[in-house]
Each structure stands twice: as C-alpha cells, then as structure tokens.
Symmetry: D2
Subunit: 346 residues, 4 copies
C-alpha cells in the first residue's frame, strides 16, 4: 500500500512531537515536512533532542510547504492562528486540526468564546468534530476534522452514549477534571514552572474554561436542547493524564449497573475505549502513553446518582493519538494502525 504523505504544521509543540512519536512505527505514514515559523531552519533534533535519532527533518516555515505531493495535514498550531493558514491549503489535502479553531459549528458561539469573528467560516462549516468513536462515519468522509480537546474527549466518551440512551439527565452534570501539565504546552510561562506546579494542586478556570463550549455543543446535540455544564478543571503535578469525575443524575430509577451495561454495549467493538468492571475506577497510570480511554461507573452514596470516572492520556487520546486514529478512519486504514500499545507503567 502506498503511504500517506504527511505535513505537520507547528511541529515544535508537544502535540507535534507526540505525533512524531507514534508515526515512527505507523505502517502507512510518511512524514514529508515539518513546519515551525519561529524555529524554521532548525532541525527537529535541535528542538526536541529525543527525536534526533528518528527524524532528520529541518523545520520550514508554514508558507514554504509544497502541498503538491501531500495527502494530509496535521495542524498543531496554537488556537486562533490556524484559520487563515488552513484556508490556503489546497483542496486535495485533507486536514486534521488539533487546535480549537474548528470545533464549534456555531459561528456566534465561536466568537463569544474566542473573542473575534471566525476567519474561515466556510471551512468551519465543513469541519467534523473528531471524537472518533462517536462520529466515525462523518470522520471517514470529512475533508477537515476538528480534533477534540483533551478534557472534552475524556468526558464526552463517557456521557454521550448515556444521554443518547436517556439514562442520565444531561442538564444536571457536574464534572471535576484533573490534568497533567503538558496540557498547557511548551510555552515558557511562570505558572507552568516546575517549582510552581510541583507538590500542589489547583483548581483553575472555574466557571469559564473554553473547553466548556465544545462539550455543551455535543451534549446539547445529543440531548436535543441547549444546556449548560458545570465543569471545573484542576492542575496536577504530573506530565500526562486526565481524569474526569462525572456526577450524574440517573433517570427512571437507573443504577450504575444499567449505565455500565449501556456503555459496555456501546463500546463493545471499540479498540480504544474500555469499560472497567462495575464499581472499579480506572487510574491515569493505566493509560499513560496510550490512546486508551478507560471508564468506570459506580453508584453514588446518594440514591439517584451515579459517578463515572474517565481517564485518558491528554497528549494521546486527548490530542495526537486521536488525531492519528482519525487519519486511520479518513484513509480507510484499520482504526488501530500504529496505535497499539500498553501503558508505560511504572
């Protein structure tokens, strides 16, 4: 089989590096070019010493890409910077965008959360929200896939099947998530310094994290009505991992057992989503370095409520791994191609 010829835009960020980690052993991937405007001219090994033995590419500027022989773009640029750049990509090239720029179908909603009018509204309309297990069919046919945020991936995989089955009340969700620091990227900011993060935890973005927008979009779609979600992220001293604790109000006297059965059936054939035995909660240690999502369900002490815990590696299933999974879907490859792995534990 011929290989998919790939460009990574913005390869100098952590999601770019993580794509390269997985693509090394992907049987159908050919990484043709890497871009990085501020670091153009450097080899990828200078930017990421750990990649030096595996890739000899030199970073080029975004507009130096020759798209003629390219099949796919992974776009790892920061939020807000991708719209004009992706609008110029020739139409024969398919796109998986890891930024937040194309996740919101509603242009007003985009403007509200991001503070400016969308700059590529046509592309926005074409974009498919790339939550692989939920939107696989649309992803297969999509030209542009908006790869979901890390928090939303951990949360939506757990609750969308339950909302579709009307087993939980979609407008009474309360979610507390914990994330590792790599979610903040490689930018040198005081709040991400080792000394500021280590040996402590911190709730942040209370009441207003931007990932709320895409979660409310997907939950509202599944519920058939506009609704709001209570979501509180917390920063935890670890490199990788997201764990979301989701408090649900069940419908019709359901118990965790019914939710568990629904999720187990829904994901019976999904290679990357694993439902824990009833009452057992997963740990992010079990998915570190993998494209897995593990979900546990248990009854709450208060009747009428069930607790769901969902864990992923934010850089893999929450970003680059799911991006490759989407590539596999888009190009008719086995969904697991290049993504089979066991957690790096300990």
């Amino acid at each position: 089989m011929t290989k998919i010829r790939i460009v990574i835009l913005g390869a100098s960020g952590y999601t770019g590096a993580e794509l390269l980690r997985w693509l090394l052993n992907h049987p159908h991937a050919d990484v043709v070019a890497l871009t990085g405007d501020s670091q153009a001219g450097k080899s990828i090994g200078e930017v990421y010493p750990h990649l030096s033995h595996a890739y000899s590419h030199t970073l080029i500027s975004h507009d130096a890409v020759d798209y003629q022989n390219i099949d796919l773009v992974f776009c790892c640029l920061p939020h807000g910077t991708t719209q004009e750049i992706l609008a110029l990509v020739p139409h024969h090239v398919r796109i998986v965008d890891l930024s937040a720029d194309f996740r919101l179908h509603n242009l007003e909603s985009y403007q509200e959360w991001y503070g400016h009018a969308h700059r590529a509204p046509q592309l926005q309309r074409d974009a498919v929200y790339g939550l692989s297990e939920i939107h696989a069919q649309a992803i297969r046919a999509a030209r542009i896939v908006a790869n979901p945020g890390c928090y939303p991936t951990s949360i939506l995989l757990s609750i969308l099947p339950l909302i579709q089955a009307s087993q939980i009340e979609p407008d009474r969700l309360i979610i507390d998530s914990m994330s590792g620091v790599s979610g903040a990227g490689r930018k040198a900011v005081q709040g991400s310094l080792f000394t500021e993060v280590n040996e402590g935890v911190k709730a942040y973005g209370v009441g207003g994290h931007r990932h709320v927008a895409e979660m409310e979009q997907e939950v509202s779609n599944a519920a058939g009505k506009e609704l709001h979600i209570s979501f509180t992220p917390h920063l935890v001293p670890m490199n990788r991992g997201i764990s979301s604790t989701i408090h649900t109000h069940v419908t019709n006297g359901n118990k965790a057992a019914q939710l568990h059965a629904t999720l187990s059936a829904f994901y019976a054939d999904a290679p990357f989503v694993q439902i824990m035995p009833l009452g057992i909660m997963p740990s992010t240690h079990e998915v570190r370095g993998t494209n897995l999502c593990r979900i546990g369900v248990a009854d709450d002490r208060r009747s009428g409520k069930a607790i769901i815990v969902s864990v992923i590696d934010n850089l893999v299933k929450g970003a680059s791994g799911q991006a490759i999974q989407n590539m596999n879907l888009m190009f008719g490859l086995p969904e697991v191609a290049g993504l089979n792995a066991v957690a790096v534990f300990p």
Copy 2:
C-alpha cells in the same frame, strides 16, 4: 508560665513526626515521652533521621508511660487501636486523639463504619469533635478531643457556616477532593510506592470513604436532619495537601457573593482560615507546611450553583497542626501559639 507536659502515643507515624516539628518551637510545650510499640527501644532519630538533632528521646512502649507528671496525650495510633489504650489513661490527663476512634458520637454509626462495637463507649460520649473554629468553646472544656479527619476538615470549615446560615442546600452537596500521599501514612504498602503513585491520579473509595461518616454527622447536626453526602477522594502525586472542590446548590437565589460575605464574616477573627477574594481559588501550594485553610468561592456556570474550593495541608490543619491548635484552646493559650507560619513555597 509552666509548660504543658506531653506524651505522644504512636510517635513513629507521620502525624507524630509532624507534631514534633511544630512542638520544637512551641513556647509552652515540653515533650516528655514518645511511644511506639513495634519500635520501642529505638531513638526517634533512628526512626526519623530528620529529627535527630532536635529530639533525643527513645521510643518506649505504650504501657511504660508514667502518667503522673503528664498533662496531655497526643494519640497518633492507627484507627481501631486507641480505644482500650486511652481508656486506661488517668483522668487528670487530657487527650487529643488523632485517630478516627472518637469522632462519631453515635455508637451504632461507629459500628456500621468500622465493623465492630466501640470498646470505650464512655470515653466516646465525652469526646468533643475537634474542628477548632466550629467547636472552640466545647474544645476548651473537653477532656478528650477527637481531632477531625483531613478531608472533613477541609470540607466542613467551608460548608458548616453556610448551612447554619441556610444559604446552601445541605442535602445536595457534591464534593471531589484530592489528597497527597502522606494521608496514607508510613506503612509499607504497594499502593503507596513512588512508582505506583507518581505521574498519575486515581479516584478511590468511591461511594464509601470512612470520612463520610463524620462529615454526615456534622452536616446533619448543622442542618437539623439526617442526610447523605456525595464525596469522592482522589490520590494525587504530592506529599502534602488536600484540595476539596465543593458543588453547592444555593438557596433563595443566592450567589457566590452572599456565600463569600457569610464566610468572610464568620472567619473574620479566625487566625487560620482565610477567605480568598471573590472568584479567586486557592492552591494547596499556598498552605503547604502551615496550619492554614484557604477557601475560595465562585459562581458556577449553571445558575443556582456555587463552587467552593478549600485547601489545607493534610498533615497540619488536617492533623497535627489542628491538634496543637486544640491543645492551645484546651490550655487557655493563644490559639496561634507555636503555629505561626508562612507556606514552604516553592
């Protein structure tokens, strides 16, 4: 002023060591004896090398204590082991017990959560629940103070004043807490190994952590009715710290601002409880190594709800620091004696 003559039972655990850290600079404390059955005969410096320059005591067995010249016992023994031992302490000696053995006033409730009948029911009846800021008056007069659990301390300080003021609904509380590993003590168990904890997070005890019992006791008392709490603890890779995210349903159209005002007034003179500016959430970094509790309040995205984040150092305000604060109350000392400190940051 004469000094309080102190025995620490079970000094070889982390709470014992933390008591010794603070008592070193306490102007009115005289540590007379340390016990530790399995390590009796060793110097405290052999058990804890970091204490070797400050204390030269040799651990003795529990029954080798001569109580004649003792004023106060700090009991740091494991849950379930203190009842018979404390029942034998002469009546002139006052007690601060850091275990869970005397926290539940209801003997049936104790039996239900701990699996056996209480072995010192008379003492149990005398015990005061030692949440310093809430029960200061009773603590001053108590012979035996049951020092609260770490999770309950972080949570109850936030919600009891609001329940007493009828500003939140006490039967709709949802609480997610994160704790450092020192809460598990110094026992060598696989789940507390560095390699098992580092670089990951994990929900545990979902639906059934024993600290629920004392929280429900206090909340029920404040609310004037029996009720249940939804509480989920999480283990986080850090030594010290607890952060509790508390989801509340407000009453009467209240907003975070009203809750904030109530808490600010309630704790106006409390030296160790600090209410953050409205909408600002505290980090455990800010209280690491101190007896402080910091509380933040913000409106949730969903109307009718407010989010409270409360942070403490689990070994200090959540254990040994609050124990000394209670000693200060019991002996008529300034509440802050020996406990003034700024967080060890970074």
Copy 3:
C-alpha cells in the same frame, strides 16, 4: 516466520511487565505462559491493571510450566532465587536471566558478594554476560544470557571501548550514578514509599553496591588486570532513568575529542547507542521508555581528565529492552525487532 514461544518467570515484577509492554508489538514473539508463585491463579490484569486489555494470561506457578513447546525463558525472579529453578529448565530452552545470579563468572566472587555458594555452577560457566553491543557474538550462540544490571549497562557501554583503545586509565575511574525508583522493584518497603522518596535525593550503598562486582569483572577483563572501581549510586524522585557521570583520566594527553571519536566509531552501526555531539550531555528524558543509551563526552576543567555522561531507561536498556535485544540476537532476528521507539516526552 514461526514465532518464538516464550515463558516469563516472575512476571509480576516491573521487569516482567516491561517485557510484556514491548512483546505486544514484537513481530516474532508469542507469550505462552507467565509465572508468579505468590500470585498464581490471578490474571495478569489483576496484578497489572494496565495490561488487562492486552494480555489475558493467568499467572501459574513456576513448576506448572510445560516447557515442551517453549523456545525461550525470560527469568525475572529476584536475585538468589533463580539458580535452582533455571537448572531444571530443559536444555532445548534458551534463557535470558534478568537477575544478577549468572553475571559473575568467578564463583568465589559470587560467593563473596552474595553471601552463599552458587547453586548452579555448571550453568554459571555457560552463561554469557549479555551486554549486547559488547558481547553480541557470544550472545548469539549462548544458551543462557545473564542480562546486565542497569547501572553497569549505563556505565560499561561508555568505558569498555575506551579501555580497549587504551584511552583512559581503567584503575582511576570515579562514577556517580542517579537512578529512578523503579530500580528497587515493586516490593512494598518503606524506603520506596512516595512520601519517603519524593522531593529529595539520597546517596546509598556507598562503597559497596553489588553492581560493582560485574563492573569490575568487565573492566578487569578489558584492562587485562584486576582492578577496583569507585561507584556511588543515588536515588532520585522519578520512576525511570539512570544517568551516570563518569570521571576519567585520559592517557597520552588525549582530550575528550579523541574519546568522542573512538566511541563514535565503535558505535557507528549500533542502533541503540548514540554518541552526542562533542561537549553536549544527554538527559534521561531523551531515552525515557526506549532501549536507547545516549553518551556525551566533554573535557573536564582539570587537564588530563574527561567527563562522560551516559543515560538509559533502567527498565528498558537497563533490563527488559536489552533482554529482548539479546533474544533478537540469539534467534537471528534483526537487533531492533520490536524495539524501535522514540522517548515518551514529555
């Protein structure tokens, strides 16, 4: 090609789990059985939840193994327990032993360091010291390979080629190494608790770590004379990784540049050993989760001395990865089969 049929003895330790992580994607490996005496009867997923989706094996006791259809044993049992067990393995089965039991060719030296006479002296005589890049030829033909220790691997790969080339003085080596905690295994001991290790470093085993024995064996062989090494290990708060800082006295007025040239030539075709540019030191971050060894060389401030820094992942190149590399050599496979990877960074 037919697959190599494999048994892992002692699969419940970290090196066993790490073997399984790599073997999942190895094109020529068939894991037939896993043993673990104390946990026999449990599924591997109960022992290691992160493996539950990839392996459904149940642990059996060591003597329940049917060796008839087995080609290779990986032995991951603790030091001192493997000799009798391996002596009973049928002769058609080849062995890679990850313990220290067969690393010392000299039986008196074994007795001196391990405190008892060797219990399988014949097997000992057959064993090849499995430092892949140095002893590849002997490993290919060996029936039993004694997989090197983690510290020795990081150190010997750096210095043996230089000693063979007479560019450094073999009897004046001073080595300080730092290791992550996984090197201590999964046994529940107080010294490996998160709280005891986190936020600190500690020199240990000063003057007498057992890995000295195999290093002195190999260095003495290369130098053609008996000599002693100064080696001090340090425990560092991280899961994985070893970094060794090696202080050398150069011969004949050599500088780091000559050492660098020698190492570069020696490892020109070695897929897993990478010599950094002259004067650049590697970090363990660059090899985390890989079978790589990276080596940097620089002149010391004092003339006549050069400093070498060598980094590996102690569980991979320092244990299970090198074991698979040795399997590849023994069975005529490409050395890199199943071992290609980029570091898990961040």
Copy 4:
C-alpha cells in the same frame, strides 16, 4: 531589644520570598520595605499568594527606598545588576548580598567569569565571603557580606576544614552535585517547565559552572596555592535540595575515620552543621526547609580515597537562611535566632 530595620531589594524572587518566610518569626527583624522594579505597585500577596496573610507590603522601586531608618539590606537581585545599586546605599546601612556579584575578591577573576569589569570595585574589596561557619569573625565586622552560592555552601563546608588540616589533597577533588529546580529562580524559561524537568535528570554546565570560581577561590586560599576543581552539577526533579558527592584523595594513609573526627571536632559547636555517624550518608529530605547542612563520610572501595556527601536546602542554608544567619552574626544576635527548625518531612 530594638529590631533590625530591613529592606529586601528584589523581593519578588524565590530568595526574597524565602527570607520573608523566616523573618516572620524572627524575634529581632522588622521588614520595612520590599522592592521589585518590574512589579512595583503590586502587593507582595499578588506576587506570592502564600504570603498574603503575613505581609501587607506593596513592592516599591529600588530608588524609592528611604534608607534613613534602615539598618540592613538583603539584596536578592539577579547577578550583574546589584553593583551600581549597592554602591549607592548609604554607608550606615549594612548589606547581605545574595547575588554572585561580590563573592570574588579578585577583580580579574570576576571579569573572566562574568564577562565585564566589576562596577563597584571598592565595595568588592570590602566584601566578606559569607560562609558563616568558616568566616564568622570577619562576617561579624563586615559592612557587606557576599552570601555564598548554594553549591559552594554545600561543598566548602565539607572540605575546607579537611584542607586546613591537610587531610585531603585539595587539587584532586572531584565533585558531582544534584540540585532542585528552585535554584534556577522564578524566571519563565522553557528549561524550567514542569514538563521539561519532571521524570528525568540532566548534567549541565559541565566544566564551566560559575560557582566554580568562588569554590576555587576558597579552596586555593585554604590550600595556599592556586588550583582547579572538577565540578559537575545535575538538575533533579524536586523543588528544593542540594546533595554534593565529593571524591577526595586522603593524605598520609588517612581513612574516613580521621576525616570524620576532624569534621566532628570542627563543627562541635556549630548549630547548623551536623556530621552523620561514620559511614552513614544524609539525604536532602532531612534538611528540607531548614538551615541545616548534614555531612556524611565513608571510605571508598578504592584505598586512599574517601567519599563525602553533603546536603542542604538550596534556598535556606544555600541562600536566604544563611543570609539571616549572617545577619545574626553581624548584629550580635544568637546565631540561631529565628532559624530553629526541623525538616518538613514528608
């Protein structure tokens, strides 16, 4: 007793915050003003939330300080920026400078290591190198004390008494040190991000760390001849702590026992330097958060050599704690005033 009226220049760095942590409980300190040019106008609680309850000062610019009623300046400004500023401080004010600017008595040496001519040579000549236990007498009388670097403090305390006693060879020292990340300060740089540091170690500055200069100055003075030191620092994933492993060649057939006796005698009355029992090595855990230096001595496996391990908290004895110790000496206070503490463990 009247209090010492203090200004902290550059209070927004970690050493400034650490000074404030200790001065809170110092019986003779009165913090009058805090400066911070880039953050002037902010309260210290905005810059460091953990200080908000203890200090209400607003940062002012350096030239807004009114020195009329000031007795002492702690200068925490970055290296290279303090010379002009301190030259303008009125002569009645005494100075403890925590930067490297006044540590080198030799102006050419300063120029060589720091790349520019010294800008306050007269002040430089007056400065005393503030290694408290070694230069106490000169410190008491000094107007300006150059507080030592963190690495040099850990190392020089160990070796200077042995060199003065001619028990080790001063020109054959080989030193490997490990440091926590707080040594790099609070500046937002990529290399100090949590994700870049966590789960790995790294040698850096091989052959050329600036702290070499002050170590060679002090060692050369003690030895009575110019000499060079081999020093390699390593970055370790922890907030605080330095451990130095010092390889010495003993003289006259000395053993570790003789070195141990010499150090024990030298520091018999030193409240902050503790010599471990012979053969026992200290851990940085034992000194975390304290002004202690702990030193262990053991024979090396190679005869003629002894290994010394010396640990401190880099922010305390390696910076702010020693600065306060020097203040105590300068103002005739007990050396331990305000500095008594037990390590924050776990």
